[in-house]
């Protein structure tokens, strides 16, 4: 049997089921010290004085570091707009706290308890500054300014007198003329909330100075070469001076794409010469890392009587929070994805992302596509309802297909399978009509319960790989050992296995290409010294990018093997076809390498007395091109759907005046095993992507995307109410049921 396409167990499964797999917090080094990071605790202030003398004098304290100790006191994945440490002693902009999770001091002590005790003795004197937490208020001329300072901005000129971080626009055709011709127009405003990744492993790490004089940082991230670059920048050291190592990673979902403990650990180890460890509590994790962007999307769409969508006008605003993180990239995706996977001849999108004093927003599974599709699919479902048309039929008449032109003016990449996933979802749904209600778990008295049932459908697309002109690439090498016969192979590729199973997939691709059993493939995946950048485990890119890189390297290594080299070794850097950035005026571009497609059908049951929503069944049809490991692909679908049902019905990261309210897993609720979905039906289609390795396309974000609009449509089917704001909590449903009654 070929290795690709086989559901072999994960390469790390034995270590994980026995508890032996080492995560960053599980690793100790002799002589290590502990670090406690002091958070600002205020959302907007100018620090006038930071008194660390009492902390320095506390028992066991080795050192306390402040802004003055950071060689280059700035960082950021896209632009360096964030101080490593806030406070006096470095740049004027570093004196300003813009978010309660800003770091102000690092206390390094002999024990964790000593570091924590001393951290409480750091005294911060500050002038409070006015706080702005609403992106629309932040755009007002008199709003408090978050970033009047100058920093390298990669999108041309930035207006430093505004909190506008970036705006995009798409223009195609003439929407006004098209609305005038439309038989039906629907308008709505969609709102989505901030959401927390809640990976089970809070941030942790360990840094030390190696015998060769380089700083090694052991941490859980998503892209080790990017971590290395940001650490080196802030420490004012060449990148070669830094080694980043990833042990087991306890989930990421985008939440480890930006720096948390990386830079400060390296700084503390470098300055003290000691191994330095830090482990965040759950509360520190929730306060201290970014969230999914809240969006407000105002939508106006028109269609003909025949169900042809003729115009879409969208006004999109996202709350970037206090620092840029990946907000500009998320905005880039949302600008296109808010139109859904449809060919619409007349389009007018204005999209913007805005600084506020909220927790920074950033990457989270789907990267702007879930929010965009919540609006787009809501609009399509409303048009279908207004026209009295089947939701499948209206999508048939408008969905992207081979040769379709996107709103950016470019042709959708070959291998467009929006219609295929749609038809399969429709077929599966027809085969399994909703079951009659049996019991509802929330009801105290089953005989008296009143429920309504409904079914809803949504369709989605999502880019694979980084977008809009990013120079995408992925390094890998393959080494074949043996004499007359191939005995084993070694694969070097440092894509992060954040839990999604990337390393297993690497081994499967190599084994498949070389004709070796998977057990004969050894992986070198551990640190930045192994190979060049393999890029980020995000944007559903790792299978696609690393698969192509490993296949390329394997092919060259096989040639070397034929040429009698022993061991036969070859490197390969995969470069996918280039993309281009949006034109600032029209949005014209070739935005993405390729896409993955997903359609879902949700069956819900609503308790008419409590407003409780139960998702009875969710059919998720995903075209993955080629399922490298079908069982792991199913796991991605099931996990994505569970997360998305949480986002749709349950989860809400609440902030009040720039302070996190839901700081624990007891107040920030994520789905448990008894919650929310009774049955997830993962359906895998394998329609090859012409650019994919053996046809594979990225898939791990895609099944997150249509869930919310499918559930919203099912709720409309059940009780006749459109829910345009997430999360759709029992309170909101109950309120809507009350308002519905005459």
């Amino acid at each position: 049997m070929r290795a690709v396409g086989s559901s072999i167990p994960r390469v790390d499964a034995v270590d994980k089921v026995t508890g032996l797999a080492p995560y960053p917090g599980d690793i100790d080094l002799p002589g290590q010290a502990w670090m406690k990071i002091v958070f600002a605790g205020v959302p907007h202030a100018r620090i006038t004085r930071l008194d660390v003398s009492r902390a320095q004098a506390a028992p066991g304290v080795i050192a306390v570091f402040t802004a003055a100790d950071v060689p280059v006191n700035e960082y950021g994945l896209i632009m360096p707009d964030q101080p490593v440490l806030c406070g006096p002693g470095s740049t004027p902009q570093a004196q300003i706290v813009r978010w309660e999770g800003d770091h102000v001091a690092l206390v390094v002590a002999e024990t964790q308890a000593q570091a924590e005790a001393a951290a409480k003795l750091v005294a911060m004197e500050y002038e409070e500054l006015p706080v702005v937490t609403d992106p629309f208020q932040a755009l007002e001329p008199d709003a408090p300014l978050l970033h009047p300072e100058e920093f390298p901005f990669p999108y041309g000129q930035r207006d430093r007198r505004s909190n506008l971080l970036l705006a995009y626009r798409l223009r195609r055709g003439d929407v006004e003329a098209a609305f005038a011709q439309a038989d039906v127009i629907v308008e709505a405003e969609y709102r989505t909330q901030a959401a927390e990744h809640a990976y089970l492993q809070p941030e942790a790490g360990l840094a030390y100075v190696r015998e060769d004089g380089r700083i090694e940082v052991i941490v859980a991230g998503q892209w080790m070469h990017e971590d290395r670059a940001q650490i080196a920048h802030a420490l004012g050291l060449p990148e070669e001076q830094i080694v980043v190592r990833y042990p087991a990673i306890g989930g990421a979902f985008g939440g480890r794409e930006d720096m948390s403990v990386q830079i400060v650990l390296a700084l503390a180890a470098w300055k003290t010469g000691r191994p330095v460890k830090t482990v965040w509590s759950r509360e520190e994790s929730i306060i201290g890392h970014h969230k999914r962007h809240p969006f407000v999307i105002k939508a106006k769409w028109g269609a003909t009587r025949e169900g042809k969508i003729v115009a879409a006008q969208m006004d999109v605003t996202s709350d970037a929070g206090a620092y840029a993180y990946t907000s500009t990239k998320v905005l880039g995706n949302a600008t296109l994805m808010c139109l859904g996977p449809y060919e619409i001849p007349n389009v007018h999108v204005d999209a913007r992302t805005v600084y506020t004093n909220n927790c920074p927003s950033g990457a989270f599974r789907g990267f702007g596509a879930p929010q965009g599709h919540f609006a787009a699919e809501g609009q399509v479902n409303k048009l279908a309802a207004a026209l009295g048309m089947d939701p499948v039929e209206i999508r048939r008449r408008n969905a992207l297909r081979e040769g379709s032109i996107l709103a950016t003016g470019s042709v959708v990449p070959a291998g467009c399978t929006a219609l295929d996933v749609l038809e399969e979802a429709a077929r599966r749904a027809a085969e399994s009509p909703p079951e009659p209600p049996v019991t509802l778990r929330t009801s105290l008295d089953a005989s008296r319960r009143r429920v309504a049932q409904g079914r809803g459908l949504a369709l989605s697309f999502k880019n694979v790989g980084f977008s809009l002109g990013f120079p995408e690439h992925c390094h890998a090498w393959v080494e074949i050992h043996g004499e007359a016969e191939m005995e084993r192979a070694v694969v070097g590729c440092v894509g992060a296995d954040v839990g999604q199973g990337a390393h297993t997939v690497f081994a499967q691709f190599a084994a498949d290409a070389l004709g070796l059993p998977v057990e004969k493939v050894e992986l070198r995946v551990e640190d930045t010294d192994v190979t060049g950048s393999s890029g980020s485990s995000s944007a559903s890119r790792m299978t696609f990018m690393a698969g192509n890189a490993i296949l390329g390297a394997a092919q060259r290594a096989l040639q070397a093997w034929e040429d009698e080299e022993r061991p036969a070794r070859a490197e390969f850097v995969f470069h996918p076809r280039p993309t281009t950035p949006y034109d600032p005026q029209t949005g014209a571009s070739d935005p993405n390498i390729t896409y993955g497609y997903c359609a879902q059908v949700a069956d819900v049951e609503v308790d008419l007395e409590t407003g409780h929503v139960l998702v009875k069944r969710l059919i998720s049809v995903n075209d993955v091109g080629k399922a490298v490991n079908p069982q792991q692909v199913e796991g991605q679908i099931e996990g994505a759907v569970a997360q998305s049902v949480g986002w749709t019905l349950l989860e809400n990261f609440v902030q009040e005046n720039g302070r996190a309210v839901t700081q624990r897993l007891s107040t920030y609720l994520i789905p448990g095993v008894a919650d929310v979905v009774e049955e997830i039906v993962p359906v895998i289609l394998e329609l090859p992507d012409p650019q994919g390795p053996l046809g594979a396309r990225g898939m791990a974000e895609m099944p997150f995307i249509p869930t919310a609009p499918a559930i919203a449509a099912a709720l409309h089917d059940a009780i006749g109410v459109w829910f345009d704001e997430l999360p759709i909590t029992p309170e909101r449903v109950w309120q809507a049921l009350r308002e519905r009654q005459p």
């Binding site: 559901s7 167990p9 994960r10 790390d12 499964a13 034995v14 270590d15 994980k16 089921v17 026995t18 508890g19 032996l20 797999a21 080492p22 995560y23 917090g25 599980d26 028992p59 964790q112 308890a113 990744h197 809640a198 990976y199 089970l200 492993q201 809070p202 087991a248 990673i249 306890g250 989930g251 990421a252 979902f253 482990v279 509590s281 759950r282 954040v498 839990g499 999604q500 199973g501 069982q631 792991q632 199913e634 796991g635 099931e638 996990g639 994505a640 759907v641 569970a642 997360q643 624990r664 897993l665 007891s666 994520i670 448990g672 095993v673 008894a674 979905v677 997830i680």
Partner: protein, 170 residues
């Protein structure tokens, strides 16, 4: 800093004596003093179950138990549950069913499910779901975990010689 207390515990089949501060949780002592890092701190306040262990055979969140409370009692962690030279049938089923992704919640799920199978060797799906309601997983969507537990129960019923449930709290 408070003075330390001497605690003697029957831990994973061995008598273990350690010094701890009265404020220290069992989880902290397991991880930081005894080097048993299979139990994970996912929340530190009993919401996630990643630190679950057995205390006198009863399932507990080790982050909610003070280490001094374990004096004279029996503690079994994921390390103690795992046989030295093989996997438990339950662990094998987790592996076969791909019932894990990032793996941080996995030891807690194994400990919890093993405790269930000891009490109730043939649980229904509803019983499995209710029992595991104290364990959070952010990766899998839970379905494969539930299947792994049910399949373990089924295979043990078919092969009583392999009954591993007796190993719990041994």
């Amino acid at each position: 800093m408070s003075s330390k207390v001497m605690v003697s515990t029957h831990l994973n089949g061995q008598e273990v004596t350690f010094l701890c501060e009265p404020r220290q949780t069992l989880l902290e002592v397991l991880r930081e003093e005894l080097g048993l890092t299979g139990s994970k701190e996912g929340c530190g306040n009993g919401n996630c179950g990643a630190c679950n262990v057995l205390l006198d055979g009863v399932l507990v969140n080790s982050c909610l138990v003070l280490a001094v409370e374990t004096d004279g009692r029996t503690v079994t962690t994921i390390e103690g549950l795992t046989p030295p030279d093989r996997l438990l049938p339950l662990q094998q089923k987790f592996l076969e069913h791909a019932a894990l992704q990032c793996g941080v919640c996995t030891p807690g799920f194994i400990v919890s499910a093993q405790a269930l199978l000891e009490q109730n060797p043939q649980p229904t799906e509803g019983e499995v779901r209710r029992w595991l309601a104290g364990n959070l997983c952010r990766c899998t969507g839970y379905d494969k975990i539930v299947r792994a537990v049910l399949d373990t129960a089924q295979s043990l019923a078919g092969d009583p010689a392999q009954d591993s449930a007796k190993e719990v709290g041994r």
